[in-house]
Amino acid sequence: MKFKDYYEILGVPRTATQDDVKQAYRKLARKFHPDVSKAPDAEERFKELGEAYAVLKDSEKRAAYDQMGSEWKTGQDFQPPPDWGAGFEFNGSDTGMGSGSDHSDFFEALFGRQARGRQQPHMQGQDHHAKMMIDLADAYRGAKRSISLRMPAYDAQGHVTTQERKLDVSIPKGIRAGQHLRLSGQGGPGFGAGPAGDLFLEIAFNPDLQFRADGRDVYMDLPLAPWEAALGASITTPTPEGPVQLTIPPGSIAGRKLRLKGRGIPGSPPGDLYVVMTIALPPANSDQTREAYQAMAKAFDFNPRELQKG
């Protein structure tokens, strides 16, 4: 187990007041909150911050943590001293930010022994949430998928362990990114005779090079040769539902969209599929093609920078 320097994580000296700690936490938390930040390591950083704050804002936990001395450095191998926690009474009211289930081993070893809150008899189990990645094609056709979820569970001593659980889930046709699928009774187990909680799966699409979904509408790029755009063409293009024949009107320009009504994600009403036209330039890499470009230059009285000044 690696030591964590909670002061270093919050960027405050060991002499910081409770107000300093709070201020430092808030500032960093706003920066790294996963709902706000798009930094790739935001979730990891935020977890660390929450854990550091949970310890340093609590005078009992902070005093106990301080007692280990200031010689420890982040990343050093660490075992809690045998007399750890002696003489301290943790009230156990607050295991800190987050669900309390995603703390590091280090935190769990030091503070994880507290009672996990009184359990009321016959209480409904907790609702659980998880994210589920699916392909856009699954939303078009519906699908059956097996997923494995890691659920935190408490052992007899109140320590957190992770349990792997496999679920076979039907993905309804027409589901969109950001929507939630509720599976009744698949959440946390109930207490006493209470029923189990529900499991909510938040749907997200796997990144797709070809198609981009926005709600129920789907967008795709369609590269055209300059002559196809200028003269019009009839071409075959892939769509999530299979290839279709498209008529490109003459005089098409890059960025213009063709709407294929009802060919977005199915539903009532279904979404639309937008084909965004782009122009691809053929390379001039032979005598013949260079001559073709030269012939074009001669044939056109064309200044693409006509509107530029200066």
């Binding site: 935020f46 907790q126 609702d127 509720r182 909680g197 799966l201």
Partner: protein, 115 residues
Amino acid sequence: MIENEMTFLQGDVVEEEVQLTIVELCQACNAEIDHVMIWVVEGILAPQGETPRDWLFSGDSLRRARLAQRLSRDLEINPPGVALALDLLDEIATLRAQLQCAGISEVRVEASKIQ
């Protein structure tokens, strides 16, 4: 024979098929009833029905309520601040979607390089 057959769980699409009472919403996002009532007053959530007892929240409320819960718990923001943050996050999401539809998802990468 039957043991070998896999049973696939059928779920409800919350945003389309589900309405939640205040108790169900609190349970689903692990929030306290008092907080949800304040969020309604602040306009973060807009249930149907006259009194809290009759309130029915649309499925979309789940996402907003979870976000409100995380922001107020993790960042210690007060309810008007949560309302503002939610509005701004929605606006950012709309702008991002517009960029994505225009095929300009690289903007973010370039912007972060500049920093």
